[in-house]
């Protein structure tokens, strides 16, 4: 028995000694080998140390920058996984994110998930949707459970800074509104002194509500639920006098109430709510990719390129359109995307106007006017930096 123990201990000891000695000797040879295993896709850059890699990769102007983050980058992870994981709203928010009768996700936010998948895979179906409540969403993103969060999340300084997130361009400019019953006689926020108000927890809405009422010297009782579904149900049952969320959300929720005609949305906007995709801080390339995927939908609308007339534009002689569609230049490579990522987005999902009209436009029950969400050329706020 003891002999065994001694043998085992001796074995361990010799192993440790060998490992220590071996490491010291082999150090110079193992060090260069490591990058080769972690970055197999850049065989030319691998043997050389990182600083010399950038000038070595002369073929692609952005080769040096893309080689560094790609090693453990989000894009590489998504590509090797074969699917994008997109965090979306967990409660039915028709027009933005909801599941139709056939079990397919539909909505404005969903289409932007599809745009990202289309740009990466040339296939908008390669997505796993991860339904998240307002409380879960940022933790899910921080912990890397999802690749991108497209869940009408408001871009604020606090979240951008303290939460360790980065916001891609705003896809929907919104403002907070208030819904009340028509028979309540409420016309302004001042009429709501002492009212009970349903609001979803973990939202900017919750904070704005408190700020607005405090600033006006009004009191209210909050009734707070972790998900939008129960919040709306409580309001519908008359457990609250008012229901507050982003105006787009109110319009969408109105269609789900048991008797929509009994309710109205007050003519008051309590805040700015820029909604857009968010990614985790720490991978600038992935952030850039998501950012330019959104810009591509703006730019396509500006050029008038739709999923219908895309093929005509592919024969275009106009240099800037040729660059935009990836027919010339290597614009995509710099952000870790294929050069024709804009073509993929437009073919599968369409430009911004198509996405908007399909989900929120005149032919839908919501019929939301474009308003601020028009191109800058039409007096709106949508503006894409140049694709060059």
């Amino acid at each position: 028995m003891r002999k065994h123990i001694i043998l085992v201990l001796a074995g361990i000891l010799s192993f440790v000694l060998a490992a220590c000695g071996g490491q010291a000797q082999q150090a110079p040879t193992t060090a260069p080998a490591q990058p080769a295993t972690t970055a197999p896709e850049q065989p030319t850059a691998a043997p050389a140390p990182a600083p010399t890699a950038a000038p070595a990769a002369t073929s692609a102007p952005a080769g040096g920058t893309s080689a560094q983050p790609a090693a453990g980058g989000v894009i590489e992870r998504i590509l090797s996984r074969g699917r994008l994981i997109c965090g979306v709203n967990n409660n039915p928010l028709p027009g933005f994110a909801s599941v139709d009768s056939a079990g397919v996700y539909r909505g404005f936010d969903i289409d932007f998930c599809r745009a990202v998948a289309a740009a990466l895979f040339d296939d908008p179906t390669k997505i796993d949707f991860r339904p998240l409540s307002a409380q879960e969403r940022f933790t899910a993103l921080q912990s890397g459970e999802i690749d991108v969060l497209i869940r009408n999340s408001t871009w604020t300084l606090g979240r951008d800074g303290a939460l360790g997130l980065d916001w891609a361009p705003t896809t929907f400019y919104d403002g907070q509104g208030m819904m009340v019953r028509k028979d309540s006689g409420i016309e302004t926020l001042e009429d709501m002194n002492g009212a009970t108000i349903c609001v979803q927890t973990g939202t900017t809405t919750e904070l704005n509500l408190a700020d607005q009422f405090r600033a006006r010297g009004l009191t209210f009782t909050p009734v707070v639920f972790p998900d939008g579904d129960s919040t709306r149900a409580a309001y519908d049952a008359g457990q609250c006098d008012g229901f507050t969320t982003d105006k787009s959300g109110l319009v969408s929720s109105l269609t789900l109430l048991s008797n929509p005609a009994d309710h109205k949305i007050l003519e008051v906007t309590m805040s700015k709510e820029p909604l857009g995709p968010a990614v985790r801080q720490g991978d600038p390339q992935w952030f850039d990719a998501v950012r330019w995927i959104v810009f591509a939908t703006f730019q396509a609308e500006e050029y008038g390129i739709t999923s219908q007339n895309l093929d005509q534009f592919l024969n275009s002689d106009v240099p800037e359109i040729r660059r935009f569609l990836g027919l010339e230049g290597e614009l995509g490579a710099g952000i870790g995307l294929p050069n024709d990522f804009a073509v993929r987005i437009i073919r599968h999902v369409g430009n911004y106007a198509e996405i908007y009209n399909r989900n929120l436009g005149p032919d839908t029950p919501f019929n939301l006017p474009r308003g601020l969400n028009s191109l800058y050329t039409n007096g709106g706020l949508l503006y894409s930096p140049p694709f060059r």
Binding site: I6, G194, A195, T196, E206, R214, V224, S230, G238
Partner: protein, 400 residues
């Protein structure tokens, strides 16, 4: 070396250290502890690395920042301009409130249930059986949501069910008339304190007398009666002196949106309390039943032979002995109830878990918030079991 060996006495053989099991045992433990420490250090540095990359380094500085979010119910003063730290305290107190009331009610209901299951009455016994079997086989979360949805069936606040003008039932909870302190409340409170002191003195004196005579006796109820009598006397005296009752009944009056005056128990709190009590009482009932069954049958027969009524038998003979069996498992049920209250988030009651979640969501400080959350639940649980263990030791002493 072989020459020197005979001089070593037998039994004091020099064993090389690597063959000495005592030393090996120590070495193995040191190696294991080192491995654990290295493992923890690796996980910790890995976490810190990830957090640093995400610009999320843990810090507790957020605790002094204004929270900005409202909390519907609070035992202490709270508004959104107060700090995250204070909001956290509000959450703790909300959890403690539902836990304490829940534990008291669940114990009473469980006791009744446990005794009913052993009753000679066929109907009572089987009603209790059906109740136990139904309730313990349905998940608690489902029950909480059931009770909460049930409150939706009540009318809107403007059309509340009026019970005698004092109690109003509506879909936001129950509003009741409630005593309210008047101007002379402080004067009367002096009488109350006086009553408590006199009652206390009476109790101590009586106990000393009983001990001196070495005879059992009852002192507590009389002490209570004396204290109550003095308080009541003071109540009348303050009224006669000023013509105003020191405590009056505040009757709720419906305002535009809510009731003014009285006290309102929100539907969230009520649903959580009812759900927790009904669910936990089942398990407590089974514990009580097992405790009663553990008392030897001879005790009951002996008590009957002495001429005690069934009620007296239960109260004076069976239950005191059953308590020894009941208390240890009862402690876990109390802890379960406290921990289960974290399901409140589903029905909009702002308990500790809910508040901590909101703080985490707003500040992004997941690690400090989770640590605080764990520390809070841990200390509440440890305090509960500390108290129960003390009580357990006390009743075991009585046994002799």
């Amino acid at each position: 070396m072989a020459v020197g060996s005979p001089s070593i006495p037998p039994g004091k053989v020099n064993i090389p250290f690597y063959r000495d099991t005592r030393i090996i045992a120590v070495i193995v433990q040191i190696v294991f502890a080192l491995l654990v420490a290295v493992g923890i250090w690796y996980l910790y540095s890995n976490m810190m690395n990830g957090l640093r990359q995400a610009n999320l380094l843990p810090t507790f500085s957020f605790l002094s920042v204004p929270a900005g979010f409202p909390i519907a119910e609070s035992v202490i003063e709270y508004n959104p301009s107060m700090t995250y730290g204070w909001a956290f305290v509000v959450g703790i107190l909300n959890t403690v409130r539902v836990a304490v009331i829940g534990i008291i009610l669940a114990t009473l209901l469980g006791l009744i249930l446990g005794i009913a299951r052993l009753s000679d009455n066929w109907l009572l016994r089987n009603v209790a059986l059906v109740y136990v079997e139904i309730v313990r086989n349905i998940p608690l979360l489902l029950q909480l949501i059931f009770w909460f949805s049930l409150t939706r069936l009540f009318p809107r606040i403007q059309e509340s069910i009026d019970i005698g003008g004092l109690i109003f039932l509506h879909n936001r909870g129950v509003t009741m008339a409630w005593p309210q302190a008047g101007n002379d409340f402080d004067t009367w409170m002096q009488w109350v304190y006086g009553g408590i002191v006199v009652g206390g003195i009476f109790y101590v004196v009586r106990r000393i007398q009983f001990i001196r005579r070495d005879r059992p006796g009852v002192a507590l109820p009389y002490a209570f009666l004396i204290a109550l009598g003095i308080a009541f006397l003071g109540f009348l005296v303050t009224y006669l002196m000023n013509g105003v009752w020191p405590v009056s009944l505040s009757v709720p009056v419906l305002q535009r949106f809510n009731f003014e005056g009285g006290i309102t128990v929100t539907n969230s709190f009520a649903a959580l309390l009812i759900g927790l009590v009904i669910y936990t009482a089942v398990f407590i009932g089974e514990i009580v039943r097992s405790g009663i069954l553990a008392v030897s049958k001879g005790q009951r027969e002996a008590a009957r032979a002495l001429g005690l009524t069934p009620g007296q038998t239960m109260r004076l003979v069976i239950l005191p002995q059953a308590l020894r069996v009941i208390v240890p498992p009862l402690t876990s049920q109390y802890l379960n109830l406290t921990k289960n209250s974290s399901l409140a988030i589903a029905i909009a009651y702002p308990d500790l878990f809910y508040v901590a979640n909101t703080i985490n969501n707003q500040t992004g400080q997941a690690i400090p918030v989770i640590l605080m959350l764990m520390a809070s639940y841990l200390s509440v649980s440890l305090l509960t079991s500390l108290f129960m263990n003390w009580y357990n030791r006390r009743i075991q002493l009585v046994e002799r």
